[in-house]
Symmetry: C2
Subunit: 218 residues, 2 copies
DNA sequence: TAGATTGTTAATCGATTAACAATC
DNA sequence: TAGATTGTTAATCGATTAACAATC
């Protein structure tokens, strides 16, 4: 479908952002957009937008610009939205529940089919229409369903062990919320891991505002 | 303190990761580490580690390596951990509560001093030792306290408006969980914004595993 | 046709990696 | 001193930006 030369990760990371802004155009009834217009809205260069889109063959028309509806459809397809990913959540604690209840994912091509926990008080409860299952049944569940992505919302100490199990069972993607990197899993099983290192991110924000803090105690 | 030449954002983003790994070394009682050893653990090049550390003056000793304790202290200082950032949370929904209850932040130099919501059912309840206050009192609270960072866990539609208020009141940092970019706020007020675009991140993962999905429906 | 805007090649910029001299 | 490993300069690599020819 797309060129055989590898798309760089920098480009891939911009895809969801493009999708968001194009959605907005669509919602506002805008039918065409030029790279220049889009660049102003998104705060990046028109050149970059054209380069990015051309990694995937280019969706525009010279002299006209980009048809918003077509662009929307093309990027949705690239991101796999038309055929939703089958997702499970491991760990129904605070973060796991927040993720499960966050309904934006559905509109972006993800369908939750299972939630698992170890806590007997949580097992059996219902979150967003899904009954929390015992993590002991995880292996069976994965074997019987085509799971694309497992979301890890479990304590740091347990993460590697559970990730190992899931990777062994052939789940191709892990979305990891605990502050560990799962290099060993990536290497051993070729599993694709995206980390949400919340604390890391907050620390970056801290660093960036350091010079603007009021020096109260000095 | 540090050089007057600007530290690149790529380097800054690696700082929390360095901090995590150095903490681990410390926990394991390891007292010295070479860039080569650390590079193996962290999956990056020794050269990059030395370059990175030298942005801040260099913490090592030729022929020896890096003293773990010293390294730990230096990076902690860079990240502002010894003098915690004063943080408030706006929005005590699923995500806001998950953040408030996540105790890792405290150990990383952040102290929560307030949580705000609009919902009368939530206002007055206690989360992790802090009573949720009415968002109407937000302006007063910020004026009377030195808030460094506001965490926005509110619906997308409300985000810009609330961000505007907070920025006007002089809060230097915004940690934004809704899927909007706050370019206008950054430009108008010079506020530093870090976005946690969870859906975007999950979509990247989706893209990266696209070729490994079982083609069930084809 | 003239004007607009893409697709694409070339130039620039910045980040990463390699190399090595300094020095513990 | 010899060996090790940093700090730092130089080379490479990749990503972004600029320029322009193609074409609608």
């Amino acid at each position: 479908m797309d060129d055989n030369k590898k798309i760089s990760i920098a480009v891939i990371k911009r895809l969801p952002r493009y999708y968001r802004y194009i959605n907005e155009l669509l919602d506002n009834g805008i039918t065409k957009v030029s790279s220049k217009e889009l660049s102003k809205r998104m705060h990046l260069t028109a050149s970059q937008i054209r380069q990015d889109f051309n990694c995937f063959g280019g969706f525009g028309q010279q002299g006209y610009g980009y048809n918003v509806e077509l662009l929307h459809k093309e990027i949705a397809t690239l991101l796999g939205i038309p055929d939703p990913f089958n997702v499970i959540i491991i760990g129904a604690g605070n973060m796991g529940q927040a993720i499960a209840k966050y309904d934006n994912f559905t509109r972006r091509g993800f369908a939750f089919s299972g939630i698992f926990d170890v806590d007997p008080d949580i097992i059996g409860t219902e979150i967003n229409g899904i009954t929390v299952a015992d993590v002991k049944t995880l292996e069976e569940f994965i074997s019987e369903n085509n799971i694309d992505i497992a979301i890890l919302c479990i304590p740091k100490e347990k993460t590697k062990e559970v990730a190992e199990l899931i990777a062994t069972l052939g789940v191709p993607g892990l979305w990891n919320f605990s502050s560990t990197d799962l290099h060993s899993i990536e290497e051993k099983y070729g599993t694709v891991v995206e980390n949400v290192h919340l604390t890391d991110n907050l620390m970056v924000l801290g660093y960036r505002i350091a010079d603007q803090r009021k020096e109260v105690y000095n």
